[in-house]
């Protein structure tokens, strides 16, 4: 759970009295909290903004960093009739997860600190400055703020003991970000009241509203997602091990100038038939067994030859002739092979060179996209494709091309370059594999050439030797046949040995496949259906309580499990609701999520912020029902409500609440007061 204990805001100005520090310092309790004021524009929203801002959730308000904050943090603060320039500003937020307490500090305006920096003090606000309270700086909104160890949201996730699931987006799987979840609990006063979850920042997550409801209620669907992730890693390990064995077998086969057929490159379940299908063939296309028996017969036949030169003079001559011819044809092949390798190598070099250019272009185009954004924030018209002199539309190009030829926008250009890069990478890689294959062939040719040359040499020396000597070539041939035979034998036994490992992997693969098949596809578990129906019941009960009137039959409201969002007769409820009833829907749904999560031990952080819930023509009695349903939750959750007490009825009904039931923070005329005036009253409490 997440609970807000205390909020301290500091705004430093040049006001000479009391060092010019304006501020806000209040404690919050569990249960119901009001931030109340008699009139508008007294700073309620600025105070609530500070909570969002310290937690790094300002994207819910609609932007990043200090830009979203009100002017009191950035430019001027009004005190009676004087406007004071704001020199520096920042806020401390003390939060608790029910067990530990940390204090967060983030600056809104400061030259010394980046506003993306959040300092986490491991202790409460009063302990800051103690030796034992260690500060830790963390980053927001940078790539990795949600996953990196020094990312603030990664810290917050572990602090709140939430385990955010990976959810599918348009590209890869991505974390369900904290901002997205909290946008459903913090109802911001402007667009928060437009629709259910309307303050949600966009991160390209698919079915994001459904995912959030699933997460808050702790549905099984997400557990399945986790199981799917686990299986994915298993699949990868098996595939990798399989690939290693595949490579090993092939390498050993190449060494003996053999090829392996029938062995799949990717894991599969092996039957006996599959094992039989794996064959090792020699270059000549014979099976290993045949080749070995051939070698044996040859060996025997040579042994039977007459070992003296004088006896085989004719046959030696013939053999020398064929060997020389083979050598010449091999040399020709080797030459061709070399040529092709050289061609492929130069193609690789060329591809790499173009790749370098494309990568540089790509990087700079991405830079250009960022620069364009920067330019438009400081008000450069050319960054918005508008001519700064004549205010006409222009293309983002410095080239003089014909008027009617369209040019790519930066985003298109980046996509185009990424396409080019993948083509070039493919070309380069295919040439690389080509070179690797050709080198294998080349090595084989070379080694065979050496053997042949040696044989030719011995035959020549046999021909010219004295007639009675033993034939050297025969001995040489015998030795060679024996080595080849031994090599084949080793290969054979190696392959059989690997079969064992393959068998083991195949078993694991089978198990994985089985588990994968058991994963529920789209079928929702029974417990999920139960949780969703209790969400529906809570929602309808809330609608009754808050006096929703637009639909004649409230009980026809349904929350289908496919969308997890309320609908009536299959349509979005919004279309059939009056403006104030739309507000009631938002109240009901936000409260129902909390109620259902509490009943079913879901993942709801147990914190809700309503900023000005009395929108449109909400009457005081409905407001009282909302307050009552918060009080019914006892102290199991914290609800912070920003409210303007502009009618007497509402004011009375809130003042009626006892001190134990609700904490009321009254802002008087202005939320930010000079700090020294403020602190004595603070210490009284």
């Amino acid at each position: 759970m997440l609970m807000i204990n205390r909020l301290v805001i500091e705004i430093k100005t040049a006001n000479p009295s009391h060092e010019g520090i304006y501020g806000f310092d209040e404690r919050f309790n569990s249960g119901l909290n009001f931030i109340a004021s008699l009139s508008n524009t007294s700073g309620k929203s600025s105070v609530i903004e500070a909570i969002y801002y310290c937690l790094g959730f300002e994207e819910i308000i609609g932007g990043k960093n200090e830009k979203v904050l009100t002017s009191v943090y950035k430019s001027t603060i009004k005190d009676k009739d004087t406007d004071w320039n704001v020199l520096e500003s920042g806020a401390y937020l003390e939060i608790s997860n029910g067990n530990e307490i940390v204090t967060l500090y983030r600056t809104a305006k400061s030259d010394a600190r980046d506003s993306r920096l959040v300092t986490v003090y491991y202790g409460d606000y009063d302990s800051i400055g103690n030796q034992s309270t260690l500060p830790d700086d963390m980053f927001l909104h940078d790539g990795g703020a949600a996953t990196n160890a020094s990312g603030f949201h990664a810290f917050l996730e572990s602090f709140l003991h939430l385990q955010l699931p990976l959810v599918p987006t348009n590209g890869n799987d991505q974390k369900l970000y904290l901002q997205v979840i909290f946008s459903c609990l913090f109802i911001e006063q402007k667009h928060g009241w437009a629709d259910i979850f309307s303050g949600m920042p966009y991160f390209g997550i698919k079915d994001v509203k459904k995912r959030v409801v699933e997460f808050l209620l702790g549905l099984d669907t997400l557990k399945n997602q986790k199981e799917r992730d686990r299986l994915k890693t298993i699949k990868e390990t098996i595939s990798n091990e399989w690939k290693t064995i595949f490579d090993d077998i092939n390498r050993n086969a190449y060494r003996e100038s053999c090829y392996v057929n029938g062995l799949s490159m990717w894991p599969k379940i092996m039957s006996d038939k599959n094992y039989d299908a794996i064959t090792v063939t020699t270059v000549a296309g014979k099976s290993l067994k045949e080749a070995m028996s051939d070698l044996e017969t040859e060996h025997n036949s040579i042994k039977q030859l007459k070992p003296r030169n004088v006896d085989n003079f004719e046959s030696l001559n013939v053999e020398l002739q064929t060997i020389s011819e083979t050598i010449i044809s091999f040399e020709q092949e080797l030459y061709d092979c070399d040529n092709q390798i050289a061609l492929s190598r130069s193609a690789i070099v060329q591809a790499e060179r173009s790749l370098e250019v494309v990568v540089r272009d790509l990087r700079n185009n991405k830079d250009a996209a960022k620069l364009q954004n920067m330019g438009s924030t400081i008000g450069c018209k050319s960054s918005e494709n508008v001519c700064p002199t004549c205010n006409q539309q222009i293309e983002d190009s410095l080239l003089h091309i014909g008027k009617d030829i369209p040019i790519m926008s930066i985003e298109e250009n980046i996509r185009h370059l990424e396409g080019q890069r993948s083509v070039l990478e493919f070309t380069r890689d295919s040439h690389k594999t080509n070179v690797a294959q050709l080198s294998l062939v080349k090595n084989d040719l070379q080694s065979r050439l050496i053997t042949l040359r040696r044989l030719a040499q011995t035959i020549r020396s046999d021909i010219y030797s004295t007639e009675t000597e033993w034939s050297e070539s025969i001995v040489q041939k015998l030795v060679e046949i024996e080595t080849k035979f031994r090599g084949y034998e080793q290969l054979q036994s190696f392959v059989t040995l690997q079969f064992k490992d393959i068998g083991e992997l195949s078993d694991r693969w089978k198990k994985y496949k089985d588990e994968y098949a058991k994963l529920p596809k789209n079928v929702d578990s029974e417990s999920d259906i139960k949780v969703i129906s209790s969400l529906k019941n809570n929602f309808i009960a809330n609608l009754h309580k808050y006096k929703y009137k637009s639909a004649p039959n409230i009980d026809a409201v349904d929350i289908p499990i496919e969308t997890c969002l309320p609908s009536i007769d299959g349509f979005d409820m919004k279309f059939d609701s009056s403006a104030s009833d739309n507000i009631r829907i938002i109240w009901s749904f936000t409260m129902a999520l909390l109620q259902t999560s509490l009943e079913n031990a879901g993942n709801h952080p147990r914190l809700i912020i309503f900023d000005e819930p009395a929108q449109h023509s909400i009457v005081t009695s409905d407001m009282e029902s909302l307050i009552q349903s918060v009080l019914n939750l006892k102290k199991s959750a914290q609800v912070i409500v920003g409210i303007t007490l502009n009618n007497e009825e509402l004011k009375k009904s809130i003042e009626k609440l006892s001190k134990e039931d609700a904490t009321i923070i009254n802002l008087d005329e202005h939320a930010f007061k000079l700090f020294n005036i403020l602190s004595p009253t603070d210490s009284d409490e």
């Binding site: 980046d114 540089r360 272009d361 700079n364 185009n365 830079d367 250009a368 996209a369 960022k370 620069l371 364009q372 920067m374 330019g375 924030t377 400081i378 008000g379 450069c380 018209k381 050319s382 960054s383 001519c387 700064p388 002199t389 983002d396 190009s397 410095l398 080239l399 003089h400 091309i401 009617d404 030829i405 369209p406 040019i407 790519m408 926008s409 930066i410 298109e412 250009n413 185009h416 370059l417």
Partner: protein, 163 residues
């Protein structure tokens, strides 16, 4: 293929597909590069000669060009590098002037306006953009002086003058 069939019943329309633009010819890129050069490689108030802008901008296109420029700017007796005058730079400068980022002084030199400076400080803050440009410019810093450039144009005058 039957030509008549094609031309009479189904007109084929060729649409011009958008052309890719190299990064060097993007307004946003070039204008930022110019601002960065003015901020990093020139003395604040005195400004930057147009010729220098061309030299530095060209050197930023490739490492070897930058190496040559570095050698030229630091030693007395090296042959001047080839200088490429790119009309795109002139166009980018006009955009920068129109957008009130750059200002051309009486002496013809360019200086950054306040808005230009704040733009450069935005660029400096973001450590993910123009990484190579920043590091190369910090190497060059203010070594390429106006005197050096004047010497260069004097050489041209001596070598190529006809009268």
């Amino acid at each position: 293929m039957d030509k008549q069939y094609l031309s009479e019943e189904h007109d084929i329309i060729f649409d011009a597909k958008p052309d890719a633009v190299p990064y060097n010819y993007r307004i946003s890129y070039k204008v930022s590069q110019i601002c960065l050069i003015l901020a990093k490689a020139c003395w604040g108030k005195s400004g930057c000669l147009p010729i220098k802008l061309h030299m530095v901008s060209f050197a930023l296109c490739s490492e070897s060009a930058m190496d040559k420029l570095l050698v030229f700017s630091q030693s007395e007796f090296t042959a001047p590098p080839i200088i490429r005058f790119d009309p795109a730079i002139n166009r980018a400068v006009s955009f920068a002037i129109a957008d009130n980022l750059v200002f051309q002084g009486q002496n013809g030199k360019y200086t950054l306006t306040d808005k230009g400076w704040s733009f450069v400080s935005e660029i400096d803050k973001d450590s993910t953009v123009l990484i190579t440009e920043k590091s190369e410019l910090s190497l060059l810093a203010k070594k390429l002086t106006d005197a050096k450039i004047k010497q260069l144009s004097d050489v041209w005058r001596n070598t190529y003058a006809d009268d």
